[in-house]
Symmetry: none
DNA sequence: AATGAATGAGAATTCATTCAT
DNA sequence: GATGAATGAATTCTCATTCAT
């Protein structure tokens, strides 16, 4: 059993279940079934452990997003697919979602803001720019376009998290369409 | 000079500038130019101080939102006005915005999630329902409608916060329109 | 109303009712209905206040003991009278008794031990020596004689305090006799 | 070197030498040559440490008392033996004696009074009742009988503590006899 | 004289990190 | 490599004392 993995898993579990403040190294060690000293074999410090986990989850998310693109599909279908994958990732991996969401609020040491780094901006930008010909993207800064998609998804994921909403295929379609409407020029 | 106010201000400043984890009571006292004991004259505990600040900022935000409604205006103008006021509040009071956003992520004690309580849901709901006749709201759960407005605003405010966007009248209009498009049935 | 008296009374009440550790100056001030600063008008420090109260109660006790002597009575009657007065003082003024008993355990600053100073040794010694002719005192150091009287009285007072014993005239007589038997040579 | 023992020893030393009030955890740690945190590895809290020490000393005392009984001896010899053992325990372990004596005065949390629990009442009671036939115990409540023995011993131990008395075999015999005289019916 | 808001040194306790085994 | 007992700096909070009003 890989001790490094156990430690990362225990950290994700504890921070999201009992809160960041109460997640001590000794609890992590206990949850991971390793000695306290073992943590310091694999991570320079507690802070570094938390950062490493952040980077790892961010990369995982990026991979999911990127792999959900398919340039052969119809633009809206593709867009809907990305939205669906993100929503499902968020709601099915709530711990990871919440960890990513809250990580940067805890320490001012790490300058990057979540929204800055959470999603792989470039491929999405390229993707959005790709159908300029078939659909008219509103003439807004790309960051704004991006916020108009990303913002609602976070809000919706929180609704699911709060058990105020159950995601169905219909709801996902509707949300995709709403986001689409907000960024596309209707004629 | 009101010491209670100094303490609240110092708390807001420190949590948002150096991070929640590093904001100790002794630092708050130093920043507020009061003795450590003075904090405990006005607040039962550090936790209560943080909570009191949260409640105070939430109420202030609510008042801003509510006062930005005007039922005599054209529905879209009114909607744009609410969006503008929220965006301006967020960006001109970034510390307060960030405090409100992050507060509930860090204390698992308080069950209310920010999105749940940050805005006065009822008046907004009533407001949105008010023009069912003149404009057709999409048939989505009200929470979802709400998320489709609130989510983008948070994302945009973060962009401003990260200095990736400067709010102009034009941008605000565009964002309002985008949100509008996402929740209104176009015919 | 004499503020100094109020403060001393409040101190006696609080130390014996809620304990020494929890008796803070602010509580004393509240109980005495004076401002916190007033305490420092009449007493140099908290420690001095406690010491002054100790001295005052000790003197009061001394007066009671001394006034209970009567050199005209029969020696045993007189002895019994002293025992009775002490027992009644102890049990009827339990707060004062407990304060005197516990005072010196709290601080090592005051070198005098309670037993050393609690009772006016000299008059009692003189008193005991007074009837060497009519009754034979055992040939023990006077401190030991004294301990053989004082010790049981404290133990008995504690029994009353613990509600394990109710003092009746009969019990008091019996105890007096027991103490008497322990220090007098029977022939 | 057992750190738990060092901490208990340091606590006993400091409370009896510099007083309860001034015995802080950091001083205990320094005296015991351990880190402050080590105290909390072995004891839940300062209060619990003090209580654990109390229980430990009480049990030790009980064992000494019980082991000093010998039912084969002559009643008075046996009584004298118990008195001697107690006096020697008290005077040779003055710190333990003072700790036991003062502990319950300072914590109002623990309802048991020292006199109530300090000595193992039952075996002593049985012991005293054992020679009803050969010697006549005065018809007093057993608690009073007990106080007539225990009280003088405490007073005498304090005399030794105050260096006002040196215990010799003769003095011990005399004291035993005095206590004996106070509880036995002489004919 | 009397007050009580303000102070800050000091208390108990925690926990990230080390290091001898 | 792995462990977890030991550490002590840092944290939250208290309270005796001061001093402007």
């Amino acid at each position: 059993m890989d001790k490094k993995e156990s430690i990362l898993e225990a950290t994700l579990k504890l921070t999201t279940e009992i809160g960041w403040v109460d997640t001590s190294t000794s609890l992590i060690a206990k949850e991971a079934n390793v000695g306290m000293g073992t943590i310091y074999r694999y991570f320079e410090s507690k802070e570094q452990l938390f950062y490493d986990l952040f980077i790892r989850l961010k990369q995982k998310l990026n991979e999911i997003v990127i792999s959900s693109f398919s340039f052969e599909k119809d633009p809206f279908d593709n867009f809907e697919n990305v939205v669906r994958n993100l929503l499902l990732y968020y709601t099915e991996n709530m711990r990871e979602f919440r960890y990513l969401e809250t990580y940067s609020d805890l320490t001012s040491e790490i300058p990057e803001r979540i929204d800055d780094t959470l999603l792989p901006l470039e491929p999405i930008t390229n993707f959005l720019n790709g159908w300029n010909n078939s659909f008219q993207l509103k003439p807004l800064p790309i960051d704004v376009i991006f916020g108009l998609i990303y913002g609602p998804l976070v809000a919706i994921a929180n609704l699911v998290h709060m058990k105020k909403l159950v995601l169905t295929d219909q709801i996902i379609s509707d949300i995709s369409e709403a986001c689409w409407d907000s960024i596309i020029v209707k004629n």
